[in-house]
Amino acid sequence: MPEIILTDQNFEDEVLKSSVPVLVDFWAPWCGPCKMMGPIVEEVAKRFEGKPAKVAKLNVDEAAATAEKYNIMGIPTFKIFKGGEVVDEFTGVQSKEEIVKRLEKTLQ
């Protein structure tokens, strides 16, 4: 799996202290649309291999404290972090192209 798996423990190192933008997919196994997004997020991660960006998944049940900290009220939710800050966010099913476009924008 090319995506980074986030936990409450590694979130700070992998996301907040990351030197490159990180797309975080907040998901849960009981959420149908989230599971449908799974392969799409994986393709996005493959697309960004070797580029200055990371793609990560955060299971809101397993990393509940982080999900709560970021006020997650609905999933699938995507947040793009850059320099420790949220620079873009969107909720609901997205096309691969849409996610790629939004992540690419943050590389500039």
């Binding site: 009220m73 909720t91 609901g92």
Partner: protein, 318 residues
């Protein structure tokens, strides 16, 4: 194998026998039937599985007494893929017919070409139509109770609607939330009696009839809604953390209104063979006039549309 060549930066020209627009039960079933007839088939769909992936459990698809919606749809997708159907996750902007060929253009300008088209783009949740609704999606406004109800542990939620989906949302939320308001604009529910009785029996569900949500309060997330009583013409504010919208669906068929005949609700008019008013364009599923919006019906209609398309292609490609 036909080629797919990149003729210019954004314009990817591909020639397919059949382009299926939409990847819900109708589109996936059409893809299975088309692929089994050895048609070079493309499924264009942003949301694989369509509305069915929002159903936590499906209990009426023959052969499955209980299966999560996304699992059923994942099986259908893999089935179609296994048979050779191709998938692209694009949103279609325009379909044009030039001679016998259809040119399907997606939002960013990529073009796919095909000999025939099946329209299966289904329906989308109807929105409340109040200011800032889109901005608060995921921050207190939800169209998917199964996705978002668990975030309302010990919180307060409003469910808007009066059909089965609204009652299911309220009953699910009642397991997590400390209080659920069920707001419906009529005197009577459209939902099944069993569900209504279950809701009435729960102490943490409060039913507010003849009322509608007029707006909401909140900075980053929602903290309150204003509810208007239609009969008394009064308005009041209620403190809540979120709004679940379950007021039915609309068909976004505007992009094909110059291609095929639609009825007054925007539904695509089809005959018994799933032919639309335009030769070479077929349609199936919730986007059509066919009654009863059910997974099994959409799947059946999709199969019919693919078989009709196959007959059409045998004539047109000679």
């Amino acid at each position: 194998m036909e080629t797919c060549s990149l003729r210019s930066q954004n314009f990817l020209f591909c020639m397919y026998d059949l382009i299926i627009i939409g990847a819900g039960p109708a589109g996936l079933s059409a893809a299975i039937y088309a692929a089994r007839r050895a048609l070079k088939t493309l499924v264009l769909g942003k949301e694989i599985g369509g509305q069915a992936i929002y159903a936590s459990q499906v209990e009426n698809y023959p052969g499955f007494d209980l299966i999560p919606g996304f699992e059923l749809m994942d099986k259908m997708k893999k089935h179609a893929e296994h048979l050779g159907a191709e998938f692209q996750s694009f949103k279609v902007k325009e379909i044009k017919k030039e001679g016998d060929i259809f040119r399907v253009q997606e939002e960013d300008g990529k073009i796919f070409e095909g000999w025939a088209v099946v329209l299966c783009f289904g329906a989308a949740p109807r929105k409340l139509g109040i200011p800032n609704e889109d901005k608060f999606k995921g921050c207190g406004i939800s169209y998917c109770a199964t996705c978002d109800a668990p975030f309302y542990k010990n919180k307060i939620a409003v469910v808007v609607g009066g059909g089965n989906a609204a009652l299911d949302a309220a009953l699910l939320l009642a397991k997590f939330a400390k209080k659920v308001y069920l707001v419906h604009r009529r005197e009577e529910f459209r939902a099944e009696e069993v569900r209504v009785n279950q809701a009435r029996a729960l102490s943490n569900i409060e039913i507010i009839l003849n009322s509608e949500v007029k707006g909401f309060k909140g900075d980053k997330t929602i903290c309150g809604v204003s509810i208007g009583d239609i009969v008394n013409r009064t308005q009041r504010e209620i403190e809540v953390n979120g709004i679940f919208v379950e007021i039915g669906h609309i068909i976004k068929s505007d992009f094909v209104k110059n291609l095929v005949n639609l009825d007054e609700h925007g539904q695509i008019v089809v005959n018994q063979k799933n032919e639309t008013s335009a030769p070479g364009v077929f349609a199936a599923g919730d986007a059509t006039v066919v009654p009863y919006k059910q997974i099994v019906i959409a799947a059946g209609e999709g199969a019919k549309a693919a078989l009709s398309a196959y007959s059409y292609l045998q004539q047109v490609k000679q």
